[in-house]
Symmetry: C2
Subunit: 181 residues, 2 copies
């Protein structure tokens, strides 16, 4: 047992190593899920995202808001920036974004700005979801782009991750010396 | 006369140099307006933003999407990131953001994520505005923050800037050799 903050925050969920033989939606969501676990291990709300084009992962990122002291450093924003840098173009029409939680309005807006063609998310977010959960940024009638959206991919796993993180954080806050023992 | 792309794109509008004796909303919007002119002079859609806290400008940014090949590099996103870095905190409750155009949903979402207390914008955007123009990200019932919003500050000047830019860009596209002569 250790009292170091890092160990207390270590994620109890295991990463998933999908077969490289099936590069489908589930495969890519598993990669996003692993990014979310990395986020937890860095003390961040566990959300992860990957961007895929022509079956190649062109970006993979985790939420970094706390460590970067930057509220815009959500996994999706970082992944979109990365993806555009990789292909040298800010238009991601042919790309597919996988993210473990429903994007917030900021990230849903970024998806539209980048013209991302396809988005799959895991856990829905009724309080802050920007793709139908709390508001639907993808439904603006005069917008010049609309993404194809699939929800609920690995929903239970992605939700368990976020809920587990907040439970651990509360436990840690209420009982700082024994929360992880 | 020159055919260089930079000269063709140079902004015909003048910067405004407000008196330092009146650090009110109009003063700060003029600083944002000057950032928008800088954006035009770099070949970008002219949008500028500043963030102010305790009457001190803690961030000033212009739209950089084209030059950065990054659809998330809107003036507001860059300004929020800068402001958080300046004060070492991702919470901007006591800060005031001034931006020449109504924030898109991405930027409106970032304003909420950063918990920006007050926002003033210039030109409304009925097609893509995220603070009531096309959708109101600030009105999500379960959100943990709501910003105070003032619209229409220097509306005519900010609108003229954006419309002038697109007119010049169209003219340049239709008649590349003489558009700026």
């Amino acid at each position: 047992m250790s009292d170091s903050p890092k160990e207390k925050l270590s994620c109890p969920f295991e990463k998933i190593y999908p077969s490289q033989l099936e590069k489908n939606d589930l495969f890519h969501m598993k990669l996003a899920y692993n990014q979310a676990i990395d986020a937890w291990n860095h003390g961040e709300v566990p959300v992860g995202a990957v961007v895929v084009k022509d079956e190649v992962v062109i970006a993979a990122a985790r939420n970094q808001t706390e460590n970067a002291s930057d509220p815009t450093a959500h996994a999706e924003i970082i992944a979109i920036t990365q993806a555009c840098r990789t292909i040298g173009d800010w238009r991601l029409n042919d790309a597919r974004l996988y993210v473990t939680k429903e994007p917030c309005p900021m990230c849903a807006g970024a998806i539209l700005s980048a013209r991302v063609g396809f988005v799959a998310f895991g856990a829905p977010d009724p309080a802050m979801g920007g793709l139908g959960g709390a508001i639907d940024v993808n439904a603006m009638p005069k917008a010049n782009h609309r993404a194809e959206v699939v929800s609920g991919l690995m929903e239970q796993e992605c939700l368990a991750l976020v809920q587990g993180f907040f439970r651990a954080a509360r436990s840690e806050k209420n009982n700082p010396s024994t929360a992880s023992s």
